[in-house]
Symmetry: C2
DNA sequence: TTCGTATGTATACGGTCGTAGACATAGATC
DNA sequence: GATCTATGTCTACGACCGTATACATACGAA
């Protein structure tokens, strides 16, 4: 058997199924963008992880920006920081605090949109930031604002999201010691009343 | 007058003063890193803004990472989110809230370290994140923790920094509508009691 | 005045990036 | 079974990145 014959052995040559391939790229993109941000994730890396060539990404999504837009939409609509019955305002602080402190290993979970949300700020490309901002406002901010009672609901909701984003950045991306080393349960006890204060509006 | 004679006209050919040049590069680096993050800022851009060649940056600072380390140190030690008499705990929430909502135009101000702090999370390079994390812990976290009374001072301080970072990201980098469009004074009224709650430790 | 050295520049190398264009082939259609 | 098209790959281009090497020159000491 001549060596030039076997392409690389191993992996089966991939079935030609557009829907399946598209979904694989999207899933790979969600993980990559969440883990490394828009600038940090390369289309070659995303494609390889999905088992395809980089050019297929562009064929399906037009460009890296197009892929990002779909990935963010997919991640945020599939599951949100805000996903329970919002009517129970009394326990919302505790619930959201628990959600923030979930480990959310980006390589394992389907990934709720919050890490993606956070990663949006990492780039400088204005169009990319715009994509992220609009999705955050449409999915998270709108839902949370609608649930809150009292004055300045939108501003309080925005502050809640800011707090969530800040904790995630400091804990998961930067690894700030008191957040990274303390148990989620202990942190939750400290974080929950702070969020609750914003929920109640003083 | 032959055209080949005048290099580019305009700018004087720069005095040869190592200290001045070094400082100019550092200042330019602070602005660039704060505005575009570590990955987003290029050494050519930083050098050009300081009026020198890219290679001078490496001559003075060894590498881009070395420059970043010095820039972060410079920005955070020069002025900090924490800069007033910390003994007045009763007004600390209001004071910090006001500080966060300062416009801090990165192209104009000497730049306190908070935007730099935030931008640190934007990269994926572990050594760069480490540089930022250590500086945050040494400058901001340590000072703030020392000022707080009661249990879990370090964790509460970390949450305060997280909230500050989150608000800055959402407001200045992402431009989340309720934060970007609302007046600083109004936001301060909402934000101050939240921070104060973490200062007081419930 | 001479000359050594600190200061700054010019050029280029190897690498990665996003993506354009030409080519290959599996699988449905007749 | 022949053919057509969607699906996927290969190669390469141009632009940027950080930085190493080689060169030019202003300044201070002799």
């Amino acid at each position: 058997m001549p060596a030039s014959r076997a392409k690389k052995a191993a992996a089966a040559p991939r079935k030609r199924d557009a829907a399946v391939t598209r979904e694989a790229i999207l899933k790979s993109a969600r993980r990559a963008f969440a883990a490394h941000g828009y600038d940090g994730a390369g289309v070659r890396e995303i494609a390889a992880d999905a088992g395809v060539t980089a050019m297929l990404v562009n064929r399906y999504f037009g460009s890296k920006e197009g892929l990002f837009a779909e990935a963010v939409d997919d991640a945020m609509s599939g599951a949100s920081v805000i996903r329970k019955d919002m009517s129970d305002l009394a326990s919302l602080g505790d619930y959201l605090a628990a959600g923030v402190l979930e480990t959310t290993d980006p390589d394992a979970t389907p990934l709720d949109g919050s890490l993606m949300m956070v990663r949006t700020g990492g780039t400088t490309n204005p169009r990319v930031i715009e994509i992220g901002r609009k999705q955050i406002e449409k999915m998270h901010l709108k839902t949370l604002t609608a649930a809150l009672k009292g004055d300045n609901a939108a501003e309080r909701a925005a502050l809640i999201l800011s707090l969530i984003a800040g904790v995630q950045i400091m804990r998961q991306m930067i690894g700030l010691t008191p957040l990274a080393k303390t148990s989620p349960a202990a942190l939750q006890k400290l974080l929950a009343p702070v969020i609750q204060q914003l929920v109640d509006g003083k």
